[in-house]
């Protein structure tokens, strides 16, 4: 055991990617185990590793943690990315939860039936442009600071930069109406830990492709 957190998931983004982002942004190195077969997954369940029979699984500080939000909340707390008091934490939680709703649409997109893909892509664009991005554009404009909450780098900033880049992969000009977010994107991308994560060879996973979708369906087949 190296003492580093160990992540178990498929070799792709899915629900683990936000956790990879957060650990990377906090400057924490981690190990990864990739699920490739149903047998591996069934064995994890049989061996009692997965509290609710699901991944992501993160082994950290002697715990076998499951549930994406529980994991991220722990990491955010541990590495001082969750605000300085209860009110800041509430703001961060609200922002993270909103962004997470948008990320959920992106997560599910590769699994859309072919005849729904265009509609779902349009929904992602619509929600990003009309519901989520305007909120953060306004937050940044109103306080004029670099970070979303408390003038300090937090989980909310990591989640937002991840979401911006993920939406841009599908809708390249999505930030055209959002000057503050453009500046935010540049600033976050240049932070040393994030810059490193955005370089080739980092643990960051590529966008899901047909092979990833196939693996998901195979590993989690009932």
């Amino acid at each position: 055991m190296s003492g580093k957190p160990r992540l178990t998931y498929l070799n792709g983004r899915g629900r683990m990617e936000s956790i990879r982002w957060l650990l990377a942004a906090a400057g924490v190195e981690f190990e990864e185990v990739y699920l490739e077969t149903k047998e591996q997954y069934d064995k994890l369940i049989k061996d009692g590793f997965l509290l609710f029979q699901q991944v992501p699984l993160v082994e950290i500080d002697g715990m076998k943690m499951v549930q994406t939000r529980a994991i991220m909340s722990y990491i955010a707390g541990k590495y001082n990315l969750h605000g300085k008091d209860l009110k800041e934490r509430a703001l961060i939680d609200m922002y993270v939860e909103g962004i997470s709703d948008l990320m959920q649409m992106i997560l599910m997109f590769p699994f859309s039936p072919p005849d729904a893909k265009e509609k779902n892509l349009e929904s992602i664009k619509e929600r990003a442009t009309n519901r989520y991005f305007p909120v953060f554009e306004k937050v940044l404009k109103q306080h004029g600071q670099d970070f979303l909450v408390g003038n300090k780098f937090s989980w909310a900033d990591v989640q937002l930069i991840e979401a911006i880049l993920a939406v841009e992969e599908k809708v390249p000009d999505v930030l055209s109406g959002f000057p503050q977010l453009q500046v935010f994107k540049t600033k976050m991308s240049n932070m040393p830990t994030i810059k490193k994560f955005l370089q080739p060879g980092s643990p960051r996973k590529p966008p899901p492709d047909a092979h990833y979708v196939e693996t998901v369906l195979k590993v989690f087949k009932k």
Partner: protein
């Protein structure tokens, strides 16, 4: 009027804030009223349990909105998950430590949420609890906590199960 940050409810006005997002609201209330464990490790255990329960709650909450031809399968799935994925976890937690509460030997949001789910399942399938004696005892104990007992009495702010009228209203207001 700008009251809904992401154009959605629930919205709770508390301590000068207009909070949205169910989890953000619950996190705030839990911390403020000491229902979130005594340290980061307890909070993490609570979070894991609560997140599992939120997943189950999602199934329970969406049942009433299923189209007629999907209802039966949805019901079977939610009962199967309750019986095989979720209830065994909490039965085992209680068995392993033998204490009254799920985490840290004191009342937390995890206990409140578990009771809420137990009571909902009871409305649909009371015989499920034959397999979970510790959850039965948990249910009895929790229901007798004064604040909870009061909430379970008629006239409290607790809402009844969603009926067709509620489903109709939801469809009308949001869709």
């Amino acid at each position: 009027d700008g009251s809904l940050l992401f154009q959605q409810v629930p919205m709770v006005e508390i301590d000068g804030m207009k909070l949205v997002q169910t989890r953000a609201i619950c996190n705030y209330i839990s911390t403020k009223y000491n229902l979130y464990g005594k340290d980061l490790k307890e909070r993490t255990l609570i979070d894991m349990y609560v997140e599992g329960m939120f997943d189950l709650n999602e199934l329970l909450m969406t049942y009433g909105y299923q189209p007629a031809d999907k209802k039966e399968q949805h019901f079977a799935n939610m009962m199967e998950k309750t019986e095989n994925r979720y209830f065994p976890v909490f039965e085992k937690v209680l068995k392993d430590h033998g204490k009254d509460f799920l985490v840290g030997n004191q009342l937390s949001r995890a206990d409140v949420q578990l009771l809420e789910i137990i009571l909902m399942i009871e409305e649909w399938k009371p015989d499920m609890f034959a397999k979970f004696p510790l959850l039965q005892r948990f249910r009895a104990r929790m229901s007798n906590i004064p604040t909870i007992k009061k909430f379970l009495q008629p006239g409290s702010q607790r809402k009844p199960p969603s009926d067709e009228d509620v489903v109709d209203k939801v469809m009308k207001i949001f869709y």
